[in-house]
Amino acid sequence: MDGSAILARLRGRLGARVLETHEHHGDHTAVVAREGIVDALSYCRDDALLRFDMLMDLTAVDYLKFPGREDGPRFDVVYHLYSVAHNHRVRLKVAVEQDAPSVATATGLWPIANWLEREVWDMFGIRFEGHPDLRRLLMYEEFVGHPLRKDYPIERRQPLIGPNV
């Protein structure tokens, strides 16, 4: 299916909860409201014409230092979906505020969302409601902070952990 047709179909189903759609360098993106994201994702997966059976990637972007978006919602959770059956892609984005950032989990739809969401929690501090086991994936448990946030300096050193320290 053509990218704009995919976006039109999404708009048709979700109506006002699709806040914005755009097409940039061949990538079709829909920005969805926070309350509607699970609905949007399950529609994408189950609808016969869309059939996005693969969650390619689930990540987040911190817009704290982005010119023009310093006042807006701080994070964007980005979902890249791909359909093996129809060979088309779409990108869904959800804007998340800075205070107590959280989004509903997609683990019930695709099992890989479990680890991808754990990584987003680890790196950005965005909680996923309904996630069965939300703990850090890449950093060690005693690590303090969320490293990919823009206010975490890259050269910060945390004390070495371990039995002899």
Partner: protein, 152 residues
């Protein structure tokens, strides 16, 4: 003095010679340097001719700890534990620039040189070091072993 010292020094030399040609390394492989370690250990560059051809995958059975590849803060306690589990005499080779100084990973996740955690005998820089560099480092390690030098 005299004859007694002659015999013990010859014995030391013999022990040093035997030790340097029977290196049982524990390759603590983490990252890209592991590929060059594999290349050095296999038929093209071959460390078996130095007597170092049998890696022991248990620290209890090894005497040289080759730390190959970046050590992150999550991995550092494991490295320390493995080092502690080895018996003396033991030597440590820092293989690759990530283990020497942290490499170009000057960030929150990488240990800036394993000598902050364990004592190191030989530093082999390179990202990754060519097998010729590794063999050069190995030969320097052999000189060190033969001289009986230990760093605890």
């Amino acid at each position: 003095m005299g004859v007694g010292t002659f015999f013990t020094s010859k014995l030391d030399e013999a022990i040093g010679w035997a030790r340097k040609f029977s290196i049982f390394q524990y390759p603590f492989v983490t990252a890209c340097c592991g590929m060059e370690y594999m290349a050095t250990a296999c038929s093209h560059y071959d460390v078996d001719r130095f007597g170092a051809g049998l890696p022991r995958f248990s620290p209890r059975q090894a005497d040289v700890l080759f730390v190959v590849g970046t050590i992150s803060h999550k991995m550092a306690p494991v490295l320390k534990r493995i080092y502690d589990q080895m018996c003396e005499p033991k030597w440590v080779v820092a293989f690759g620039v990530c283990t020497c100084t942290g490499g170009f990973y000057d960030n929150y996740a990488t240990v800036q040189g394993i000598d902050t955690i364990i004592p190191v005998d030989i530093y082999i820089p390179g990202c990754p070091p060519r097998p010729e560099s590794v063999i050069d480092g190995l030969m320097k390690l052999q000189d060190k072993i033969a001289a009986g030098a230990q760093r605890y």
